[in-house]
Symmetry: C2
Amino acid sequence: MNKRPTIKDVAKKTGLSLSTVSLVINKSGYVSEKTREKVLKVVKELDYHPSRAARGLASRTSGNIGFILSEDHFSRAEPFYTKIFLGTEFEARNHNFYILLTTVDTLSKKELAIPRFLLERNVDGVIIAGKMDTKLVDYVERLDIPLILVDFRIPGRRVSTVMIDNRKGVRLAIEHLAERGHTRIAFVGGDPGHPSISERFQGYRETLEELRLPFDENLVVTSEVALRVEDGFHALRTIFEREGKPTAVFAANDAMAIGCIQYAKHAGLQIPRDLAVVGFDDVESTLHVDPRLTTVRVFKEEMGALAVRRLVEAVKSKSRNIVDTYVPVELIVRESTMGRTPGDGVPKGVEIPEMQD
Amino acid sequence: MNKRPTIKDVAKKTGLSLSTVSLVINKSGYVSEKTREKVLKVVKELDYHPSRAARGLASRTSGNIGFILSEDHFSRAEPFYTKIFLGTEFEARNHNFYILLTTVDTLSKKELAIPRFLLERNVDGVIIAGKMDTKLVDYVERLDIPLILVDFRIPGRRVSTVMIDNRKGVRLAIEHLAERGHTRIAFVGGDPGHPSISERFQGYRETLEELRLPFDENLVVTSEVALRVEDGFHALRTIFEREGKPTAVFAANDAMAIGCIQYAKHAGLQIPRDLAVVGFDDVESTLHVDPRLTTVRVFKEEMGALAVRRLVEAVKSKSRNIVDTYVPVELIVRESTMGRTPGDGVPKGVEIPEMQD
DNA sequence: CTGTACTATAAGAGCGCTTCGATATTTATT
DNA sequence: AATAAATATCGAAGCGCTCTTATAGTACAG
């Protein structure tokens, strides 16, 4: 390790004290313009960069933000939360923070493991994404570290959140189906313990009511534990084995929607002629299934970025205001509801997905 | 911030000196079993955890590993490198390291920006994934920080790497196609500046030769800049506009393969009857396209994990051995080469993808 | 019984910064 | 002109660890 310049070297070369140099670097306190410039010039000359560890120790800040995700959400291919994470990462750079990612095992009944970055005081703020053991939320709050929940909330609890406008998303989807003449619209859900999922179900019921469409329990499956493709497949099969078939299905997320498409094909149904399918989230794969999936777009990266912005504000201002942020949604109409003959290629104007090696 | 216990508190409570406590915590030097236990007991009682910043400053280590990815690779939905990243993350936890992720803009002709974690000496080792400006590699090496390249290498340069066995992967794919009677196998490529991509092309040529199949330039497109779905679409169209159509196509990655499927459908071709398609990487979406894509599986998480393991070794042993690691590949045969009638649902035994909300 | 090697603990000097309080200087206020 | 307030710089005390060096006890060889 070749010797890097320290703040001492800068002080020596400028003829100023350590404190003054430090003031310049931290843009805090009173420093004359002249000295400021002198310091900055020398900093550049020496290519000086303060050591993160030293600053951290002296100022008890880390320059890191912790991102906590449940192992459950993470361990499967996680296009949704991964996108949120990438969004945080990108935004964090703008604020000179790094994101420390960690997962927490919430499934096994072992004692809750506290992320190491909390124990070592190695983060200035914490993001918790998706459903998470309340005990961990408690723990973070007791540390008095700024906290924000993304795509998660705890009923009756005052914590800052960044949430999807789930109700609106569902309304857009159901209205779209209703406009196309559907009256028997199935709902395929998943873990109702996840606030976003339960909100989607509530939105479904509300919208049916608004539109004066009948609610039929035979058209609903929410008891399935998970939210995976295969769960969508099985859930829709369950519905088709009951009385009174649907002509459209709304799935609480895209993975399940894709499972619905698979079941429909399996059952020899033409999409969207015999069955229209709508998903939620707008993950990558929705563009590659055949037919492409109509879905509710969620701005996942934006959610992460927003969370970081709120957190950085809180860290810098040392305030602990509670802020609830809703991110908007959009309905993306594709062939799974708007019918073209399957397999007729790439119509002009239809988006071509980006994806790479 | 409530006061957390420091090493001093542990020393006081045990009646030992700071140094002894430190020795116990770092498992270094001579400490009697009795003292060790006493210290650990008190550590537990106080719920003491050493401050990362303080250790960092004193020992000039950070407990972090830097992960550098080109902006180019990252900014699109990046199932491939994202998986590698997640693999590093998981493995890093086992070694009590955190991964600091950053991207570098390699496209614009601006001056190369050095990741902040390098300037601030905030990482103990560095992973560079995918194609990257050589200057950055030089920079890291000059810092004398352990470095490992993943899915990237620089010809004639001695740097540790974790590479895909690209040649073998291609051979498996081409042999599979040849076994099924194909003799006119197209190659759809991408950025030949990326070592993995150029190796795949070399593997293609070698295998054709081994199998005594003719090499026909009309069946090859490698000039396209990128590796996206749309590039696959256009590349295959280009080939079909030439003399002598292929009966099979090997795409250098899955995204392009999916583009090829889209083109084939667009052109009214039945897959695999009229055209067999094989990809490379085995990303998530290959399971959701119709027909499912035959592809070469790459153990992406494993690549990340291996890189971390190598790096941690290097950090701990302070050695600078050069190690080249190859990760194995597998051919995953699905319907894009093995023909079932499209749309016949989910055959038993065929994998159902995991994916979630 | 002295010397050497090993084992076990301690003392204390940093690591490279931030920050508090002190001091000095200038500018505004009455 | 006297005082208060704002501006500018500095000295020094840590922040909470690690690590080198010192000290002392113990074991064993000669």
